[in-house]
Every structure is written in C-alpha cells, then in structure tokens.
Amino acid sequence: MPPAMPEPDRATLSRRGEITAALRRIVPHGVIDDAASMAVYESDGLTAYRQLPMLVVLPETTEQVSQILKYCSANNVKIVPRGAGTSLSGGALPLADGVLLGMAKFNRVLEVDYANRVAIVQPGVTNLAITKEVEGEGFYYAPDPSSQIACSIGGNVAENSGGVHCLKYGLTTNNVLGVELVLVDGEIIRLGGRGLEQRGLDLLGLIVGSEGLLGVVTEVTVRILPKPELARAILVGFSDTTSAGSCVAGVIAAGIIPAGMEMMDRPAIHAAEAFVHAGYPLDVEALLIIELDGPAAECDHLIDRVAAIAKENGAVSLRTSTSEAERLTMWAGRKAAFPAVGRISPDYYCMDGTIPRRKLPHVLQRMNELSIEHGLGVANVFHAGDGNLHPLILYDANKPGELERAEEFGADILRLCVEVGGVLTGEHGVGVEKRDLMPVMFTETDLNQQQHVKCAFDPASLMNPGKVFPQLHRCAEMGRMHVHRGQVPRPDLPRF
C-alpha cells in the first residue's frame, strides 16, 4: 500500500480536457493523454507504488517548461517532474490530478569546456553519457549510481545521487557547479556557473537533493575530472562482520580514503556469486571490496597497506586484482547485487539508511532479529566507507500481506538507523517511501522550517506535493504558525 497521497482535486480533474488543450498549444506534439500510452509513467524505480497521472507532457525547450509551469501556476494544477524514472523512493510517482512533466527530451550535451573542466548538459542526459562524452579526452563524471546507464543527470540533481565512489569523490552536490532552473511561476533563473563558488546564498546547494519540490532544472553544469591512471581492487573475506567493520575503520585510521569500499553479507555474497560467478568466497560472513585509484605507484603502495590492515583484522581470504578484467569481475558481483537478489526472491525491497560505521555489527544483529520477527529474509550490501546500508528485504508480492510486512520491516530498519545516530536515507531520497518516517528524525519545528523554505519557492504547493513532507501545510497558514513546545496549532490540517 502506498502512503496516502493528497486527495485529487475534483475541479482540476473536471477541467482535464481544457488543461490538455492548453498544454498542447505550448507543446504541440508532446502531450500524452490516453491511459495506455501513459501507463509507462505510472511508477518509477519503486514499482510497488503505481498511479496514472492526469496527463503527461514532454517539453523540449526551457521556454516550453517555463510556459507549462506558468500555465499550471495560473490554473492551480499540480506538477510532478520526472527524469528517467529510476527513483527508488517514489520521487516521480504521479498524481491522479497532476501533470507529469517528463524531461527525457532534454537529452543533449550542450558543451564540454575542458579548459574549465566542466560539462554543460541538459537534464535528460544519462549519468553515464556524460562520462562517455568526455572519456576520449581522459575525463569522467565521478558520481556513479548503480543505475548510471539509465538514470538522468536531472534526476541525480533532484535526488543528490551517490554511488560506490562517493566516499572519495563526493555526491552529486559536490560535483555540480551550476543549474538553469525554472521556478513554479515560469521564471527562468541561473544559479552558479563555471566558477567554483556562486555569489550570495548557496541556493544551488539547496536545489540539489530537493526532490523536484522547488523547481524544474533545465540545464546542469557538472565538474568533470581526469580519469585516474589506474584502479586496483582487493577482495577480502571475513568470518564475521565485526572484523570486516574493524578493517574498514583501520583503513580510514591509516589515512587512506579508498575510491570505493563496499561490504556484502553472506546472503548477498551467495546471491551475487550464483548470478555472475565473480569468484567470491562462499565460506565467509562478510566480504569487502576495496578499490584504490591513482598512479600505479600509489595503487601498489596502498594495496599493500590495505592488505596488511586486512590481515591484522583477521581476513580469512584475500585477493588483489592483477588486471582490469579481474577488477571489473570483482565489481560485477557487487554491481549486480540487486538483480542477483531478484533471482532468489520474487520481489525485494531496497532500503537506504546511513549509520555510524561502528554500529554496523549491532545493526546487523538487530536486523537479523527483525528478520525473524517479520518472517522475511534480508540480504545486505553496504557502502562501508560512508556507512550507507542497503538492506534488501526479500518478499513475494503475490502472497497476501507480504508487501505490507516488508514495508513494516523496512520502516523498523530505518527507525533503527536513526536510533543509533544515523539517518533515514543516504542517497535514494525521501520521496513517498520514507515520507511518513520523517518525524522519526525531525521534530515538527524542524519540518516546519523546511516547509517554510518550500513556500519561498512554491507558495501554492504545486511542485511534487505528497513527497518528502508527511504533512501538507498551506503556506499562508505557515506564515501565521507558531509552534509552542512542539504543539502544532492546527491539528485539523490534512495529514496524509
């Protein structure tokens, strides 16, 4: 069951024909209004939740986006922006009375400026396409979410996407220098540029990760980096997760920030090995993949140091890549962990909390207990370097009640993450999925402050409503609201 969405506005639905005609005048060949053709947009990467939009519009120019938003603002029509639709948190889940604004036609790389080490791209360009565009000159775009072959840079900006290399190279927000943004009233503004700092308030920092609630990005300036000369990986097995955790801490204590440091637990190792035959040891409880990059001399030096640290922490198996092919094979299992788990279970539900790394053994222990309580299996892949957990809860949607149990199990895991000092989401976003858990981490005042910011951009709450915030405040009321000792003065406001 998806969390309840705002009640569709009957007045808007009754004007569907008129709205369709108006948007068709703006984008003559880019409006879809028949249910069969819209079906492809009914969900994103969080496929458990589905909803047909009122209609879909696929603009091609910034000017069209501006006119669409201007029209929607003037006519009180809700807008749900969508990139490639790979969100794992339901960020692009349509609304029954909303226009789905698909940005797929914004698919051009506009300019690569090697002198300033930036690429200027339209938001529908895929993450991997940026690297493909610049790799001939020895460059790449660093953030690499697992869905990078499909996910768009506009979606990455909305979600502040990470990837296995973000411990060393940062998330999307650390690699974006500028955007062109269309505000809900149709105004087009530019934030940042090719320089390393913008003037005034860091509104760019606010836009990245705002989950499509503040505006529509129509152009993105990203930093590109010279590709490291070499990357080498080391595969280390441990007989318990505590030792693996100590090894991770030991690497960081030695002053080493690896390009990637991933952990898999026994169920994940077995699923991945059965799927891609990466040569993973099957008799271990935890497996680390640690990647070092840089000049060959650096890789060799650090691989030796990491191997020594692994042995000190009781590694029971240890293998270093000796060729690029071997390194890629080591990663193949990890990168295919999700589909691999998909082979051993009819459905899985991917969670995304972050915890202080040292809490890992405790969290895994509790997760095992929760697994028994909820009667569902769980496999864990873990960005060990930065504490970002991806528990994959195994369930069968065809068995009555299992999806609900998986959701409850997932919510318990996220509560556990917050309880040990962590957060609800490390890189997938709040979206619809974790919306109602926000009060676990934030007080009413905390959330109100965020909603005040939302109101500064979108006073009528037309941009992607029903996402991120568990409670929808009307901005006019926000202005008068004064929260005293955590008591909200308007308990009658709709909670959904």
Partner: protein, 393 residues
C-alpha cells in the same frame, strides 16, 4: 555586545528583538566585521557556545558549537592526523587585527575556503548538519551526524556563506578528513598570467590529483611564481611529480620548493596577502571560471590594480583604488564571475556593496529564502544592502 550562555538565552534574545523590530548581527571572533556597510547593529556573540560536543575520528565527524575557535579545532584534529580539508584560515591574517580569534561559526558564515578548495571542496561540501535558532526564536535542526545523508532539504549547505543572515547556529557537524602524510610544492618561475593559467590548467587536466595551484605575478625584484601542490603518500607524489615535470617541460623547469618557502607561500596566497599599499586600499576576493583568471587579472591591472591567482585561476585576490570599484565588478561580470569587497575604508563601504549584486530574479528568491528563516528581518543588519550604492565620481 550580547553574549548568551546557551540556546535558551539566544532564543529569548532573538524573540525580543524580533518582537521589537530591531536587528541583531551574529558574530563569532569578529575578524570579518570590516566587511560590509558601516553599521551600529547590536551584536550577538556566539563566543560562549564554544564546546566540542563530539569528535569521532573513526567516523570522520566533528560536532562543535559555533564559538569554538578555529585554532583550537585544528589543534584537536591534528592530534589524530586529521583536518578540515577546505583549508580555512584566521581572517586576521587577511584583514589585520588580533590573531587567533576566528571561530568555526565565522568560517562557516563566510564560506571562505583556501587553496585546497580545488581538490577537496569548499566549506559547504563539509557541512553535514546543524542546530540553530531561526528568526522566529525557534530551535531547529537539519542534516545529520553521518557523512552521507539526503534526508530532507540540504539546509546545511545553505548555512555556508550565509553571513549569519538566516539563523544563529548553536551546533554544527562537519566532515573531517585524514591529513595527507606528505606534501610537495613544485614551481615554475617567470610565467606571464596567461602562461601560468595555461600551465595550471594542463596540470589540472592531467591525472596528477593536484591539491592546489596558484600564481603570484612578478614583483619589483622577483619573477612570478606558479606553484602546484601535490599531497598524499610518498610514492604517489613521486610519480605525479614526474608526470607534471614532463607535461609542463615546455613552460619551464618545474622545481620543488623548499618546505619552509612553500609553507609561507601557501599561507600568503590563502590569506590574500598582496603587498600592502596605501594607494590600493580595496581588497577583493573574485571568483571566475578558472580559464578566465588570466584575462580577468589583466583587466584588473588595466585599472591600476594588482592581484594574484589561486584555484588554478578560479580565485583572484586583488587590490585596487576606490575609483576602480565599478570597473572591477564589470571585469568580474564579463568573466562570468563575481567580486566580493573584503576590505576597504569605511567611506568606500558606504557606497560600494561588499557582495556582488545578484540577478534580479535570484535576488528576489534569496530574499524569500531569507524570510523563510527570518520573517521579521531580525538577522538583517543591512550589511550588504546595495540600495545606497552609487558609482564613485
């Protein structure tokens, strides 16, 4: 100056001032007080909120109160071979005044990062979470205490470079990083601005993981110095130095700088220490696309100014005469950048806004965002107002 002892006292002060319609200026060590219009606003100091709440080297996080001194934080991190990678500095080194007063709150408020910014990111990139009092007198928090988090809007980024105009920070969590075990500075001498930017650009385009790159133009008896800093483990530095030496051979002989000379050199560029001159009383911090650095510096010199380049050309520290102020902003605009006036006589600051004016649409949006934190303008001491700005004759 008000010196509240805790969060509760700050809430009371803010609420009272908001109710009475009077403004507050939040100060840490006060080293950047000289930036912006002369003003008589009541100051609220965070100096008594100066504790280290939690330093967890293994998790790479540091949680402190905003009044904690930068020098003390750096000493604490150094004990564990860690650092604030964005390379902050005591602003007294730039603007003069009593040393060792800079606080972490002031560093965050200004968002000023040093030479390592090109490789390690800026202040914003290390802000993980915070607690604060907004202009309604409410205590709230945002972000988290772990290095990777996308839960809710990224308000921590908004705190960096907000100049205390959104809320009073009461606690901040920062990402810390291991201190590089070794560092080596390589220098080319005698390059023109354009040749220097070209050399730095080529170094940045190579897989040499350049930590910092700057250019100090020729002075009366000294040739120009273009310096590139490499950081990391010994064998890696060795390999990268070889790569750069070959790559830049056509620009001259890339020679290692003595450790002590290099140390002084980077401190000088970080603090924007251009030769002091009574004839050139305005100090600017100008951000441009890195490749535009040489042309922009030429432009500054045409208006009688002097300058030097950091961030491989992307940051210009410049000194000029007051009469050049409008032209300097034009040079920055033409380069696709912006210029902040960070030191100037009071009479100049009355007329020339310290911050580079924003595009009208962005200015209006910024105003609404400020109001989202501070609806009554209690944190607006009119420090950066442009309405009285006029071009000097």
């Amino acid at each position: 100056m008000l010196q509240p002892a805790d969060e509760q006292e700050i809430r009371e002060i803010v609420s009272q001032h908001a109710a009475s319609g009077s403004a507050l200026e939040i100060v840490g060590g006060g080293t950047k007080q000289g930036i912006g219009r002369p003003r008589e606003t009541t100051r609220l100091s965070t100096s008594r909120l100066n504790r280290v709440i939690n330093y967890d080297p293994a998790e790479l996080i540091l949680t402190v109160e905003p009044g904690a001194k930068l020098s003390e934080i750096e000493a604490l991190l150094a004990q564990h071979n860690q650092m604030l990678a964005f390379d902050p500095w005591d602003f007294a080194e730039t603007a003069g005044g009593e040393p060792n007063r800079s606080t972490i709150g002031g560093v965050i408020g200004s968002g000023f990062a040093g030479p390592r910014r090109i490789s390690a990111g800026s202040v914003r990139d290390h802000m993980l979470g915070f607690h604060a009092i907004n202009g309604r007198g409410e205590a709230f928090k945002a972000g988290g205490n772990v290095v990777k988090n996308v839960t809710g809007y990224d308000l921590p980024k908004l705190m960096a470079a907000s100049w205390g105009q959104l809320c009073v920070l009461t606690q901040v969590t920062l990402k810390v990083l291991p201190r590089p075990p070794e560092s080596r500075t390589l220098a080319l001498r005698g390059l023109s601005h354009a040749a220097a930017v070209d050399a730095m650009s080529r170094a940045m385009r190579a897989p040499a993981d350049v930590a910092a790159a700057c250019h100090i133009p020729a002075q009366t008896s000294e040739p120009s110095i273009t310096a590139i800093r490499l950081e990391g483990f010994g064998p890696s530095i060795e390999a990268r130095a070889r790569l750069l030496t070959g790559l830049l051979a056509d620009a001259g002989k890339l020679e290692p700088m003595q450790t002590s000379e290099a140390g002084t050199h980077w401190l000088c560029i970080r603090a924007g220490n251009l030769p002091q001159s009574h004839q050139l009383p305005l100090l600017w911090r100008i951000i441009v696309p890195p490749a535009a650095g040489a042309d922009a510096l030429d432009g500054i010199e045409r208006f009688g100014g002097i300058g030097m380049l950091d961030w491989a050309g992307g940051l210009i520290w410049a000194r000029t005469v007051a009469e050049a102020a409008v032209s300097i902003r034009e040079v920055a605009d033409l380069s696709g950048g912006h210029a902040m006036l960070v030191s100037a006589p009071e009479e100049v600051q009355r007329d020339i806004p310290a911050q580079h004016p924003e595009q009208p649409g962005v200015a209006a949006l910024s105003h609404r965002v400020r109001a989202a934190f501070d609806p009554s303008g209690v944190f607006d001491p009119h420090r950066f107002d442009a309405h009285r700005a006029r071009a000097p004759a």
